[in-house]
């Protein structure tokens, strides 16, 4: 596999999936004459054709540089990325129940430990300062609405 071959195949697959999605878009009687499908059809065509050109050109290219994602050669990188994504999604889910302060603190502790491993004291401090300062700036000074969650009745401001 080369970069262009990977990109081209990815594009063709995504383009076809998108095209199938476009056929599933409901068309209403009223509205405009062009309809909600025309533009997506055009977009699917652009993606599939450019993906196809990439594949065709790559197969005829004289010199082909191999490309790998590095899942096996650099697993730590991908595990870190996965961990950040999982933490981020969990942060979003926990925000309303735990409240901004607690959820942000926990999230930051997680992110810091991933990147700045083994320095627990420093990480706890960064997480605490980050969540408190941002809360004060946004919720108190700028009066934006942030979920208060568990601390709802305890917070003095």
């Amino acid at each position: 596999m080369t970069k262009n071959l990977t990109a081209g195949i990815l594009a063709v697959v995504l383009g076809i999936a998108y095209l199938i999605g476009a056929f599933m878009v409901p068309v209403y009687e009223a509205g405009d004459q062009i309809g909600p499908r025309a533009f997506p059809f055009l977009v699917a065509a652009i993606v599939i054709v450019s993906g196809g050109i990439l594949v065709a050109k790559d197969l005829r290219a004289p010199e082909r540089v191999p490309f790998t994602w590095g899942f096996s050669s650099d697993p730590v990188l991908w595990l870190r990325i996965l961990a950040i994504m999982v933490l981020g999604i969990a942060y979003g889910l926990a925000l309303d129940t735990l409240g901004y302060l607690i959820a942000t603190f926990l999230f930051m502790v997680g992110v810091c430990s991933l990147i700045n491993a083994r320095k627990h004291g420093q990480n706890l401090l960064i997480a605490a300062i980050f969540s408190l300062v941002t809360f004060v700036v946004f919720a108190v000074v700028l009066n934006l609405s942030l979920p208060r969650g568990l601390l709802g009745d305890v917070l003095p401001f």
Binding site: A30, G31, D32, S145
Partner: protein, 329 residues
Amino acid sequence: MNRISRALGGAVLATAVAASPLAAFAKDWEPQRPIEIIAPAGPGGGWDLLARTIQKTLTEEKLVSRPIIVSNKPGGGGATGWNYLKGKEGQGEFLAATSPLLIQNNLLGKSELTYKSFTPIAALMTEWEVVAVRADAPWKDGKSFFEALKAKPESMHIGVGPALGNDDHIQFLTLTKAFGGDPKAVKFVVYPATAAEQIPALLGGHIQAITISLGETLEQVKAGKLRLLGVSSPQRENEIPDVPTWKEQGIDFVFPHWRGLIAAPGLSAEQKAYWDKTLAKMVETPTWKKALENLQWELFYQNSEQHAAFLAEQTELMSSTLKDVGLAK
């Protein structure tokens, strides 16, 4: 500063309530925590302005004992904010701004929510709808315009925004039908940015007419750039004494573009009574009247009971119009 004094006010009241445990058992309900008014849209739009005007009036006129927070929850044509409200069952401290879109989104199949998912609280203000053409256009009234439309629908493009199926669109469909045309034949051009795109498009001659709320056109009308063919109010409006109502033009059509408040589902009679009492007082205050005048809104007050009945009646009306053109099933 403001915040601190509000918080202090809240604290003082909390102590007062705690000091007299009987108050909790009294028949009247009072908010027990900060009041949250949800604007189910970003800052700057009609819902946001309404929520902030209510916040300002209730606070400045000291009609409520708790601080008021306005929270913007845009998304899903209001659905995000309204769904948030729906989760607050039985809590009378949460209110959300609403408009006919609550009805229309459901009829158009965009949302499961109807007014029945909530406790209707009040209608508060309205704007009226107009049809506007360029000042140099050949049509002087509704009749001549809609007859031209009937004769050659493909040469008449009508600007509407932000999406089909809203009040502006429904007004035009109803008028087309009432003047004897075919609503399905009308060529609508949709402008998601509403007046910001509709008015330049009309002034630039790219479309022939727009269907829109009155306030958006007033400055252009005063400057002599636009002409209004009719207005959906019951009587002529003060700012535009020369523009006849649709009623005067022989069409039985009075159509408010109102906004109001809903609360979470399952509010008790006491909670409803509290808001009926508070909002009835609010709409009589000078702060509220001045704000409406500045925003060029008209008072359109209905209490919770009247508003519930009104919502049922409006749902019927819109459902039949949208079914006629195939937008609703």
